[in-house]
């Protein structure tokens, strides 16, 4: 089954199965750059003396690093930025009390003992529910290099010897004794990197995808495994409801921030300062989810966590640090832990509040198998290099004569100790948008496609699944469809997403494929007749919709690969009676690009009047594939021999477009301005008409799709209005859509 060979990928599970979890959890772990034992009595004296003198040039002693959470808190509380903010808020008496409360609520308490506990518990869990956890070696080597460690050609040593009392004792001694020293500073000194080593530690930000609660733990777990510093993780405050578990997360590096606090200057300052202090001192890497939320749809979300990223980038723009290293991480789950919850939530069945009882229920999932997890660390993005080339690009782009009356204050004139929300210059703002897109794209490029995605693609190709024929599929068909989607079209896929991987049985082994789908997704599939994979539809409206929703979710994981090229096919397909001109085709193409601006993440956010450079590339590709037939006067028509393939590829996009139409056809429900309330109103209206056998109807009832459709409206208000969009969509799907409405 595995396409992840051991040369490129390290498999944690297979290693852990061979060794003791407790020994592993108690192994010797140390920070690669800082040696706590260096803090001798004499040098602690030095430190104390230094901190007593409140100098303007914060004399951070290298020997105080890494700081514990209390020190970090007090650094934030004593920061000039906070002092300044409290002074401007004119509420000095209360200000510090409030600040203390806020930081107490926010702060992490990362410590190695809790990490060991977590490592132990989760190694048990992971070994139970996952068949493999793959990590790309190259990514890990990169990180090792950043920490000036020797790359891991040989896997990190894990006591693999049979457990004896003495070895356990030794391990425990090793953990708690302060005298054992394993950092050999002399050998470090001889390396040419030493000079750098003393200059500064790497400022790393891990940016994983967010599909599951598991994401919070996975990276810490991996860092512990590989002996690299564990990150501090930005988490939403909702998690505080988890009580004890929230505390465990806190002890493992999670810090909790409110959902929205733009207007709260005090909170903003503390948050900003808290993030910055980690980077400025470089004692802990940071981790946050650039998508801002768990993607219930399993699709990549547009990057939104701007505040966090901006705080980080500002440290670089202010040159408090010399460089910032972003590491996008793609965590691919074969089965997402809470896919049930996700599906229900999308259908408006409210998500249970994070609570302990919910967790207890969750323990049942331990009995299931969740297949494979693939964690891909992308190559580091060096912000300095990216910004330099960005600036050069901007210079070349326009010979802009700066307006001498409308100057933006350069960084070198801005005070560095004041927390300003709008300190970013135009080009810095543009850069931060660009880099966040780059990160999300990098994550998207590393998608792993599991068999479920192809099964979902196949099963959902016709929008209506009323008959039992629609609800089941022959295993052979899966292989055929896989070939259409991924084998025949490798070229074009390469262009958009060169790095995707398919996890597929060797030589299309159908028995393995069948067993795998049945065993992992037993809640979705059942076997009927011979070699027919059938959906487990019960007849219950919501339950059936939820099953289909799950399939839609798994199909979503690969849609970004097809989106743009498929728009061309889609435009031709709906006009299949007549040849379509180049100009018209291009208009349609751009129409779809804009329509799905929020639905699918492209390489950049579509601009008004954009002229997509990929259009011609995709067009000529479909022509070489013989899917489209060009005629003399540069018009194009679909090759009817390939109708089956084409409709397979375009099916999801047609469904999405129709779902949008359905949403836009809702009579003006409300003049509500608040988007989230508006979404609820729409969803309520659409759910009443929900047809559990109609994928378009299910899509249109998904809160995510509604939200994206409405946001598209907002975003296009300048150039297009609702009626125009509706008109265009109706025009495209006219015949069928009237029919559909009649049916509903």
């Amino acid at each position: 089954m595995s396409v992840f060979n051991s040369l490129e990928y390290d498999d944690l599970i297979s290693r852990h199965r061979q060794s003791s979890d407790i020994l592993w959890a108690l192994k010797y772990w140390h920070h690669p750059l800082f040696d706590i034992k260096e803090q001798s009595i004499k040098s602690t004296k030095l430190i104390n003396k230094n901190t007593q003198i409140s100098s303007i040039i914060t004399p951070v002693h290298y020997k105080t690093l890494p700081r514990n959470s209390e020190q970090i808190k007090s650094d934030v509380l004593n920061s000039l930025a906070l002092k300044y903010t409290i002074e401007t808020l004119d509420n000095e008496a209360n200000g510090y009390e409030q600040a203390k409360a806020i930081i107490h609520e926010m702060s992490h308490r990362l410590n190695i003992r809790s990490a060991r506990f977590l490592a132990f518990v989760f190694s048990k869990i992971f070994n139970q529910v996952y068949e493999n956890i793959y990590i790309n070696r190259r990514g890990m080597d990169n990180i090792y290099q950043l920490y000036s460690l020797t790359p891991i050609n040989t896997s990190p040593t894990i006591p693999s010897s049979p457990i004896t009392i003495s070895s356990t004792l030794f391990a425990i001694l090793n953990t708690f004794s302060r005298s054992s020293s394993s950092i050999n500073s002399d050998t470090n000194l001889s390396s040419p990197l030493t000079t750098k080593h003393y200059l500064t530690s790497p400022r790393i930000i891990y940016l994983p995808t967010h599909r599951s609660y598991m994401d919070f733990i996975v990276l810490t777990y991996v860092c512990f495994e590989y002996n690299i510093p564990m990150p501090c993780i930005a988490a939403a405050q909702d998690f505080l409801g988890l009580g004890l578990l929230a505390n465990l997360l806190r002890n493992c590096g999670a810090f909790f921030i409110r959902r929205s606090f733009r207007s709260d200057q005090l909170y903003w300052t503390i948050f900003d300062e808290y993030v910055k202090t980690h980077l400025v001192h470089g004692d802990y890497p940071l981790e946050f989810f650039i998508e801002g939320a768990r993607s219930r749809t399993l699709k990549t979300l547009l990057p939104v966590r701007q505040g966090m990223l901006k705080s980080c980038l500002e440290c670089y723009f202010r040159r408090q640090i010399d460089n910032l290293i972003l590491i996008p991480i793609t965590i691919n789950y074969e089965k997402v832990l809470e896919d049930n919850l996700h599906a229900n939530e999308l259908l408006g069945i409210p998500k249970p509040k994070e609570s302990k009882s919910g967790l207890l229920k969750a323990t049942q999932i331990l009995k299931k198998s969740f297949g494979t997890m693939n964690i891909h660390f992308s190559d580091p993005i060096y912000v300095h290099d990216a910004y330099e080339s960005f600036k050069k690009q901007e210079e070349n782009k326009s010979n802009n004569h700066s307006d001498t009356f409308n100057r933006s204050v350069p960084r070198s004139l801005q005070p560095r100790f004041i927390c300003q929300q709008d300190a970013f210059t135009v080009s810095e703002q543009k850069f931060s948008d660009e880099i966040s897109y780059r990160v999300v794209n990098e994550q998207q490029r590393r998608t792993v496609i599991y068999p479920i995605t192809i099964a979902a693609y196949s099963l959902l190709k016709s929008p209506i699944v009323t008959t039992s024929k629609d609800r089941s599929i022959l295993i052979e068909q899966l292989v055929i469809d896989k070939n259409i989607l991924f084998t025949e079209n490798t070229n074009i896929l390469e262009h958009f997403s060169s790095q995707y991987q398919i996890s597929w049985p060797v030589e299309n082994d159908k028995i393995i494929l069948k067993d795998r789908l049945l065993s992992i997704y037993s809640d979705v599939f059942e076997m009927t007749r011979n070699n027919f994979l059938t959906l487990k539809m019960s007849g219950d409206r919501l339950a059936d919709a939820s099953i289909l929703m799950k399939l839609i979710m798994y199909r979503n994981t690969c849609l970004h690969i097809f989106a743009k090229p498929a728009y061309i096919l889609l435009a031709c397909q709906v006009n299949s009676q007549f040849p379509i001109s180049y100009e018209q085709l291009k208009t349609y193409y751009h129409f779809f690009v804009h329509l799905f601006a929020y639905e699918f993440v492209y390489d950049q956010f579509p601009m008004d009047n954009m002229n997509d450079i990929y259009f011609d590339k995709y067009l000529s590709y479909w022509i070489t594939m013989n899917y489209l037939i060009p005629s003399d006067n540069s018009t194009y028509q679909i090759n009817s021999n390939f109708l089956q393939q084409i409709s397979l590829i375009t099916s999801p996009f047609e469904q999405y477009a129709r779902a949008y139409l359905l949403i836009y056809e809702q009579e003006n429900l409300s003049s509500e301005k608040n988007l989230s309330i508006l979404i609820k109103i729409y969803q309520k209206a659409l759910l009443t008409k929900l047809d559990p056998n109609n994928i378009i109807s299910i899509l249109a009832s998904s809160s995510n799709v509604i939200s994206n459709a409405l946001r598209t409206l907002n975003f296009t208000t300048k150039s297009k209005i609702l009626s125009e969009l509706r008109h265009m969509l109706t025009k495209i799907f006219q015949p069928k859509s009237t029919h559909l409405r009649a049916k509903l």
Binding site: S40, K42, S43, K45, L46, K49, N50, I53, S55, I56, I57, P59, V60, H61, Y62, L189, P192, T195, K196, Y198, L199, T200, R319, Q320, I321, D322, N323, S402, T404, R411, S412, R416, F417
Partner: protein, 617 residues
Amino acid sequence: MATEGKGDTATTATTTTSPTIPLHRQELLKWQGWGYRDSRFFINSNGLIEFSGSRYLLSGHVLPRLKDWMFSKLNASIDNYSPSVQEPNPDYIQEPILNNSFITDFQSTLGSTVQYSADMNDRLFHGHGHTLEEIWKLRNGGKFERLPDWVVWPRSHSDVEKIVRLAVKHNICLIPFGGGTSVTWALLCPTNEKRMIVSVDTSQMNKILYLDEKNLTARIQSGIIGQDLERELAKKGYCTGHEPDSMEFSSLGGWVATRASGMKKNVYGNIEDLVVHVTMVTAKGTIEKSCLGPRQSIGPDINHVIMGSEGTLGIVTEVTMKIRPLPASKKYGSIVFPDFESGVACLREVARLRSAPASIRLLDNEQFLFGQALSTDNKGMLHSLVDNMKKLYITKIKGFDINRMCAATLLFEGTTNEVNQREKFVYDIAQKYNGMPAGEENGLKGYTLTFMIAYLRDIGLDYRIVAESFETSVPWDRVIDLCRNVKKRIITECEKQGVKHPPFSSCRVTQTYDAGACVYFYFVMNYNDIRQGGDPVHIYELVEEAARDEVLANGGSLSHHHGVGKIRTKWIKQAVSDLGVGTMKSIKEYLDPDNIFGSKNLIPESDEVNEHLKAKL
């Protein structure tokens, strides 16, 4: 081609001085390196590095640890010997462009009083400064695209007036030349200059015209060099206290034209604080203020138009400068700190309390270790024992890390009482920042080494090592970040450019101000085994450019005292805004409409020309 005028030997000066530098500089000074011909580092018969000559404290001494440092830290090797060419190759000297009507006019009116030369060696010496690029070219027999066509040696203000008048009349390009120690390409002739270029060497204008002991000022001709000025004033019991590191060779006029800074500015001030009155000959005539009042509110200060003009507006001829009685007491000192951050914090505190000694400099760890390598001769057993004990005390008992610690050197000047008080005060502050006094001797050594640094580059070049320094000034809160980031940028940039051996990247804080500090960077790179076909000077330039960009991004200035010249014009707009450049331009256009002072320093002409210049060099 050696036409040479006969100088009038009669002088009108009140004080006769015996100038150190001869008319033909190359007779005393190296033509392809720094300083005196007789003073240089070399590897002696014992295979150790020795300093030759007898001019310096270090002269005739062996530096036993230096070679090891060079070979181990920089991976240099004795086999990679790359000596300089011995004599300038005449083929590489471009034919002069001569304006005959000017020459005839000059010879008939000034020929008897002002010396001049069209000799190849004079022309070569006046056509360059001391950046790595220039020295590299000289050492490797490279061709300068354009050199001065003539060199003239005026002896007085009126000589200069006459020369400028002739130049305007015949449309000649004039480039003033003081000590020739520029490190900004300011002396390079613009390659696209089609007119005859005359280098005006002020070295014969080297007299102190008078001393005014009532007001404690002196009227001095601009060509006098630092060491002569101090020596002559000292004879009368005075000093100016202006001591830039180049004071052995640089001239008063040059200091004014580049806004120089001396290491003892804490007591005596920088050049702008020292100058009371200045006279400059422009293409339109002489510009000066008509009053010696100590401070005046008469519009934007004309003195400040002259200071920093870098030879683009005219020739500074005479300066009235403050003088001070020689200090009764002079004392060196040094402090070691556990790390650079503590050192900077201490310097900041010293500056905050305005209690800085005449000079205070903080070396970072790299330079501190390098300083150890520069110690002379192996000392006796007892001495090294004491040294070892000291080292043990500092590292083991005080908890200092040898790879972190750094040192400050101090110089106190004033009355004995003042000096003692100030010394105690400074050491008390230092103690708060974990600093430990490390003795007078180390301080003295530190300051004598100042003059050696420039010589060291020449031996480096002999063994395929290139080196350069650059400076900036920066607000206090950014000092530490700037130092760390720039040093790191140098290293990463070297890596990016395919430099195989780790470069030496180091800095020191050399001046403290109320609101910031001056930081000096040293960058040394072994260019062996660089990427195939890589040009070391080009790589070096890219690294320096990246480092300068980093300095600016960190809030550092374009220059603290070196000036802009032609090497940094591409950043001047960013530094002073479009309108700032426009202001400078309009002054230039008013004072010098025909661009007689056509050195093209300071103001970027247009982007293409800049590129052109770079390509040519």
